[in-house]
């Protein structure tokens, strides 16, 4: 699925301009790093795609769907095309790893037998098979991150959005996670990763989109992590 932002501006009251006049197209099957300093608008851009927020001006479309015109009754069905890894994981602490991953596809009405197979598959893929009956509080930060990735992968989404998926993780775990995201991308899924991780951006070079104070500053194929004031 293609993501197209045309002249997107997002203003939060009172007059906080989070994004200004963004034109960006992410092609189907692309892998994009979204970089920029804190407050540059990365998370806002991802939240626009998940339609948690709507733009103040401009059009945003995903596939052939104009997100401004989407009705609230259609929203769940739209969101089922997305796999989202939130910055704070958003795991449900009273559910086990298995249940956390399962409830995404259960919500789609998938029969229990298929849920069982699919959830086991993704949990195995993220390397948490032995920990599937533990609860998030019993896991390390990296493991929780992997549960969040497994949950986002569970419904085989067309678009995978990850907000700081390697934040606060050690290098080894971060590399594992990026490799996992690259393997998801290799299967044809569009991947957008908002990150601060210079090492990973430079080590696994892909398209880089840089935001600065809500404006699109740079858009490079196989770009490097270079941000004004950070290097």
């Amino acid at each position: 699925m293609e993501i197209r932002l045309a002249g997107i501006t997002k203003v939060f009251s009172p007059e906080i301009v989070a994004l200004e006049d963004i034109f960006l197209t992410v092609e189907k099957g692309e892998f994009v790093y979204l970089i920029g300093t804190t407050g540059s608008g990365k998370t806002t851009l991802l939240r626009l795609i998940t339609r948690e927020i709507v733009p103040t001006r401009g059009q945003i479309s995903v596939g052939n769907r104009n997100l401004r015109k989407i009705r609230s009754s259609e929203l769940p069905y739209y969101r089922r095309n997305l796999g989202v890894v939130f910055q704070d994981f958003k795991l449900l602490n009273d559910l086990t790893v298995f249940e956390n991953v399962a409830f995404v596809i259960e919500a789609m009405g998938v029969p229990p037998r298929i849920v069982q197979t699919r959830v086991n598959e993704v949990i195995d893929l993220v390397g948490l098979w032995r920990r599937r009956f533990l609860k998030p509080m019993q896991l390390s930060g990296g493991e929780r991150q992997r549960v969040a990735i497994a949950r986002a992968m569970a419904n085989s989404p067309s678009i995978f959005l990850a907000d700081e998926p390697t934040g606060n993780l050690d290098l080894h775990t971060s590399e594992e996670i990026i490799r996992l995201l690259l393997s998801i991308n290799a299967a044809g899924t569009t991947v957008v990763v908002a990150t601060h991780d210079q090492y990973l951006v430079d080590a696994y070079r892909q398209r880089v989109v840089e935001l600065h104070d809500g404006r699109l500053k740079r858009d490079e194929k196989r770009g490097r992590y270079v941000i004004d004031g950070e290097l």
């Binding site: 948690e52 009754s73 769940p76 969101r79 089922r80 449900l92 409830f103 919500a107 009405g109």
Partner: protein, 294 residues
């Protein structure tokens, strides 16, 4: 089919995994429904007592000589607001007079032939019908005289109207307060699950899928709450009836079993409806708020 299974499982999960909140909600529901039941029973008994006194109000009609008392009684009985009509023969009237006179009963023999006329004792459904009945009776050619307690009937009529209004207000207030308390208790319970609901919305769960377990939980807690409240009320009421029978025998509480069963069934239905509706409103409002884009 899968969705129903998940919904029932999630309902059970909501109740058991958050048992502290469930018990708190249940206790609140029991208390609120108990108070609603209590106030309703009070209101119903108030109405019952007033209507009992009203029922005892008697209009006496004395007939002219040669009138057919039985035929007239049959005619009056067909009037919708007339509860009962009793024909009083001159002999019965004389016996009553003797009984009333007590030691002076012998004086009656001085009367010689029984001079008392045929009469009718009429009871109406409500005190407010008395004046209408008296007007109609006076207009009948066979009626000589009508005797009734005019002031008492008027007062009773006013008390009856007041009791009806007070009962309605008590029950309405009880229902409104119960709804608000249960609604807010469920809303507080819901807020503790707000993060979970937000995550479910973000991963593509439909409103129905998210709301159903909460609604079923509300229905379950409302039903159990009403059942417990009913049990406590029934036991307490039976005790009160027995105690009052011994201590204040003139205060007669409602003891109509079919009516009381109906009352408990209505309270159970109210608990179920309140539990269901309050949780539905609370969860719908919450989902609408969480789903509204900034």
């Amino acid at each position: 089919m899968g969705s129903f299974r998940y919904i029932f499982r999630d309902t059970l999960r909501l109740i058991t995994r958050h048992w502290g909140l469930s018990i708190l909600t249940l206790l609140t529901t029991v208390t609120v429904l108990f108070l609603l039941g209590l106030s309703s029973l009070f209101a119903l008994n108030l109405r019952h007592m007033v209507s009992r006194v009203e029922g005892e109000l008697v209009v006496q009609a004395y007939l002219k000589g040669g009138s057919d008392a039985t035929a007239l009684a049959k005619r009056i009985r067909s009037v919708s607001y007339v509860r009962d009509v009793r024909v009083i023969s001159p002999e019965e009237a004389l016996d009553r007079l003797r009984a009333k006179l007590g030691n002076q009963a012998r004086a009656v023999t001085l009367l010689g032939e029984n001079p008392l006329p045929w009469g009718l004792e009429i009871q109406v459904e409500k005190a407010s019908f008395v004046s209408m009945l008296v007007r109609d009776l006076v207009a009948l050619p066979s009626v000589e005289e009508v005797v009734y307690s005019g002031q008492l009937a008027d007062k009773l009529s006013r008390i009856s109207v007041l009791a009806t209004r007070v009962s309605a207000v008590i029950m309405l207030l009880g229902a409104v307060i119960s709804s608000l308390v249960i609604f807010n208790t469920i809303r507080i319970a819901l807020y503790s699950r707000s993060e979970e609901i937000r995550v479910m919305l973000l991963v593509g769960a439909t409103r129905t899928y998210i709301a159903f377990p909460f609604v079923l939980q509300g229905l379950f807690l409302g039903t159990i709450g009403a059942a417990v409240a009913n049990g406590v009320l029934a036991a307490g009421y039976a005790y009160a009836v027995n105690v009052l029978k011994l201590t204040l025998p003139f205060v007669v509480l409602l003891r109509n079993t079919p009516f009381l069963i109906k009352f408990h069934l209505i309270l159970l239905g109210t608990g179920m409806t309140l539990g269901w509706m309050c949780s539905w409103f609370a969860v719908s409002r919450f989902i609408s708020g969480a789903n509204r884009p900034e």
